[in-house]
Amino acid sequence: MTAVETPRASSTAVPARPSVGRAFTALLWRDVFVTGREFVPFLLQVVLQPVFLLFVFGKVLVELGFTSSAYADVLLPGVVSLAAFLTALQNTAFPLVIDFSFTKEIEDRLLAPLPTALVAVEKVVFATMRALVAAAVMFPIGLWVLGSLPVTWSDVPVLVFFLVLGSLVGAAIGMTLGTFVKPNRINVVFAVVLTPLLFTGSTQFPWPALDQLRWFQVVCALNPLTYVSEALRAQMAPQVPHLSLTVCALALTGFLVVFGVLSLVGFRRRALD
């Protein structure tokens, strides 16, 4: 053998009990490292849709006189919520379908010395981090498109709390889809799931105002995105009718428990036979 010391010699240096924390951090660092190198494509991917939404509904329709400028107050919190929620959802669903079914790249991580569930948790944490970046970027864009930003620094803790909670729910839903749906069906399922999520998440309207359209109000109440939008609206535009922060927090926690469990079950099913 050449310069490399023999594995037997160096294996004595390996600790008897591997460090789960270090393994988890390394997995997360790998994802951050790769995203860091592809930051501009990542931004384009996550902000284009919300930007156009904001521009057409918050700016163009206002300028043309079809909506009032007050509508921007309704829209901006919704669009920020949408950016976070969908980014989180897509960043678990698609990579997992590709990893498990095609490239198998995830195998090296599944053989890392940490419990399988933590590999899943890392995916959710990382998707949430990406979602928070997407949401944060929406604020300067909102200022630029709409000309003003109804946020003060004192709003930040509440906004962060609900964006984190909403992103975790989005990531868990994405992982549930990515692990339960057959790979050859994922395109169909996405088309069927994403569009309704987009339009029933109370991003473009305040949920309490749906009183006159009762059935649609019920449908929207089933969409976790509704509670993110409503919470952000409560904080950023309190004059608009909105659900209370408590209701939003409870609803999102409930969704997180349900989809958190489902996603871990789905992940385990794919990772272990």
Binding site: M1, R8, K104, E105, D108, L111, T116
Partner: protein, 318 residues
Amino acid sequence: MEVTDLVKRYPGRPVDAVAGVSFTVERGEVFGLLGPNGAGKTTTIGVLTTRVLPTGGTARVAGVDVAADPVTARSRLSVVPQRSNLDRSLTARQNLVFHAAYHGMGRAERNRRADELLDRLGLGDRGGDKVDDYSGGMAQRLLIARALMHAPQVVFLDEPSTGLDPQARLFVWERVRELRDSGVTVVITTHDMDEAAALADRVGIMDHGRLLALDTPAALTRSLPGSATLDVDVERAPGDSDEAVLAALAALPQAERVEPVADAAGLRARLYLSTDAAGTVGPVSEVLTARGARLTGVRIGEPSLEDVFLSLTGRELR
């Protein structure tokens, strides 16, 4: 490594994929696991590498019960898969460095080891390339390098030289022998009998979820009756017939069976023997001389691991 009464039944399947397999592999041994497709070897390896949960029995790798403590087991074993599962968002060298980081290796140590292993596997100048640009042989070498990064005590190789050119194949074999020499236990699954015979200290042959045979390649081939062959070219006497000569050879006590070889120009007989082929040349020559025939050529065929494999698992397609 110790496997005891291992059973795996997949939900909804009528039969066990692995039906009570037991074997041990010593430290520093190269162990070959052979079997037709669907024999249960992939499932067995899956259990040993913590990716398949056993239904019954126990499996210990490097002293760790894989079902009870998969996390520690993973730190002591590594897997070289048949198909590349390299991280395509990373360069070759980054693949090695991140793998070591997952296993808790410090920065300086993992950088040093990555460079050494790239050199040792002949990839020293290609470490900065994206793995998408790698050929099949290079990817295979990088997979081996990655598997060695965290200094495992047991390495599992799945079909290590399938699809490789002869040079790459010999290179991989050489690395496997180095691993054994340095005290690492190596488990190989393969369809390639030459590979198993060349590399493995012992071979286990599986079929239908069971271990049918387990021994050194030499002992397995010795144990197979009627698979040593002796081909003899005969120039028979003018009044004699081919059938009569074949019948006379078949009457030899050493011959289990005799048949003519169709593609020969003259008469060529193939004797299937229960004993050593070389020692049978004399008696054959005497029989022929007695009939006024002449022995003009001899070829000895030793039984191969493939003969053992086919005799145990049958010839039907899977």
